[in-house]
Amino acid sequence: MKRKTMAALLILVMVLGTVGCTSGSDSEDKKTDTSEETTSEETLGSVDSDTVIAWYAPAPHSYFDEVKKGVEQFVEDTGMEVIIQIGADWTQASENEKVEALIAQGVNALAIYPCDASGANGLYEEITEKMDVNVVNFGTDTSHPTTASFAVATDVKQAAYDATVALIEMMGEEGNILNVLEVLEDPNTALRKEGVEEAVANYPNVEIIQEIAGIQTQEEAVNKIESALSANLGKIDGMICTGMEATVGMSQILSDYYEKQGDEKHIYAVGIDTDSGVMNAIENGIIDATIAQNSFGHGYISCMLLKYLGEGYQVKGDAYFIDSGNVLVTVDNIDSYEQNLEEVTQDILDRLTTDYLEK
């Protein structure tokens, strides 16, 4: 009897859930409909009806929210519809399933963050060669050769180099640095490591005292950075974090570190991320700077490239990687750095049909 009641309850919950999901989809559709109506009145002439753009992010994350703002601005400016899809987990298998479903719906232009640098290429080969879909990577690149037309991303090595140079200059060009890397399986980590090491190599009085890596979550970041601080107590002059989780972990740890060890000796710290906790840490003087990626540009530029490709533009020569630029955020420009990034975005947009595309 109890089992029957339970089963009935579960069925009820499932039905309600399904209804809830359906009504959610309806509301999403309504939103899209509204945007289509508005845009068709405003810029009907510029809309290419053959191009159906989808923007795919693997999982909810503050970075993707920033990128989405760029996509939404693109929709507003061009009047084109973009199907925005955010996955539930950060895996290539899940990404493949979602993208295949989008293609089945008629999408023929895809701006996507690849989960796996080499695994994503298998998906791209299928959809570009069999279905004539144009693919633009945003946020990070896939391994080469790839059938993606472009990658719009931060030059991670350059960003790591710039961040390290900024850190070294803050340190007075001497002292020991703790280098905090993230997941070693990610090819970008190797590039970031190279960027940091190349910068340090230019300063004879600066040394990397320790490297820590294998950080996938913020909890791992906290534990490992804490251990490294303990191992080198009083010997670390600067800390560089070239990943988002590590940067968030660093900003949490340093406030606790100063509480326990006192703030007579300041550890200069530079990260890569504009998470609200990181920005608070800059404002409070816990960390000194962070590299802000052009997340808005990642969204806007990738969609604009797809629009042009849909209009018949071809990739010019061996153009492929578009460095979306970055800005060092300190307490001095914390309120104005976004404007600098907008200028970078505009500059790239102005050069798209001359430097990267041709008819």
């Binding site: 320790q210 490992k224 107590l233 968030v248 606790d256 609200s276």
Partner: protein, 337 residues
């Protein structure tokens, strides 16, 4: 004199016969090793940090152990922790509730999640693996849906006292973990409900025949699992001063590793609070020690695996040696006859 020696020998034998002795020995040996090779290992700052991490690992492990004891498992443990973190962060930052209210709501979220797991497992008779796998997706969706991937950073400073301060040089978190382990040790050894929970995991049918309401025990175990996952999540906020939605995503391995190395039998019916305590230390010491020794970052996972394998093998090595000794004794006895 001879009597005294025999008594001492007996005491040592009894001590070494205990299940947790190998984990304790492994912790001592590794602690000694790392303190010899790293000047920083025994510093108060490092010990304090180790203690805090161990405490959170213990709560995560207890969360898993509670369901393993009744012959189940909880794959949604980390996501219950994540949901708690998001719920508490949302209450404090968005709804501007007091820390106390946020904690209560966070704990209720954990309890409710555990209750839902328990009620589905017992009500529909579905395997806990399948149920908690399914609910882990539901909980992940709720975490993402509510937080949208954004952390909650406006945590009142008073909230971090528990996670950042200590008493007698030992973090409050570790004191709390010890207290909970003592209570659980008492609960499983001296209370009727505790014995019933163990009996349910030891032999469900036998327990049922003895009049134990096994379904109720399984629901209770799942509620406790949710409660401890929620506690771990709240303590993590207290330690870092931020509520990150990604909290809990790597708890599954930790929860099983600490619980099982600590002597919690995967087939159920056994809980060893001393073992869990030292197993928490074992894993944290190895991870910390590798950073202390500046181990090669590319091979770090290999070292971690090798050391843990060696540590957990000690128990089996001890058993093998005992069997060999027994065989030798029997052989000697035969020859004497």
């Amino acid at each position: 004199m001879i009597k005294k020696n025999v008594k001492n020998e007996k005491t040592i034998k009894i001590l070494f016969a205990r299940n947790e002795v190998t984990v304790v020995l492994a912790v001592l040996v590794l602690g000694l090793f790392f303190s010899i090779f790293s000047d920083s290992f025994l510093t108060s700052y490092n010990m304090f940090n180790l203690g805090r991490t161990v405490a959170i690992y213990i709560f995560i492990a207890i969360g898993q152990a509670m369901v393993v004891i009744v012959g189940g498992m909880n794959l949604s443990l980390g996501y219950i922790g994540g949901m708690t973190v998001v719920a508490a962060g949302y209450c404090m930052e968005v709804l501007h509730f007091s820390s106390f209210t946020a904690v209560i709501i966070g704990l209720l979220v954990g309890i409710m999640a555990g209750f839902i797991n328990g009620i589905i497992i017992t009500g529909l008779g579905i395997n806990s693996f399948v149920v908690t796998l399914a609910t882990s997706f539901i909980f992940t969706g709720l975490i993402n849906g509510v937080s949208q991937g954004y952390p909650y950073n406006e945590i009142p400073s008073g909230f971090t006292v528990l996670g950042r301060e200590g008493f007698l040089g030992i973090p409050f978190l570790l004191w709390l973990a010890i207290l909970v382990l003592v209570i659980l040790g008492y609960f499983f050894k001296y209370t009727v409900t505790g014995r019933r929970v163990l009996a349910t995991g030891g032999n469900k049918e036998a327990a049922k025949m003895s009049g134990v309401n096994t379904k109720r025990m399984i629901i209770l175990a799942n509620i406790c699992s949710g409660l401890f996952a929620a506690t771990a999540g709240l303590l993590w906020i207290s330690r870092t001063g931020s509520a990150q939605p990604s909290t809990g995503s790597d708890w599954m391995v930790i929860s099983f590793a600490v619980a099982v190395i600590g002597g919690t039998a995967l087939k159920g019916g056994v809980f060893n609070p001393i073992g869990v305590f030292f197993a928490g230390f074992l894993i944290v010491i190895v991870k910390n020690g590798l950073v202390m020794l500046n181990a090669n970052i590319y091979y770090e996972q290999t070292y971690l695996g090798l050391i843990l394998l060696l540590a957990v093998s000690l128990d089996s090595i001890k058993d093998l040696l005992n069997v060999r000794k027994l065989k030798r004794d029997l052989k000697d006895e035969k020859q004497t006859k």
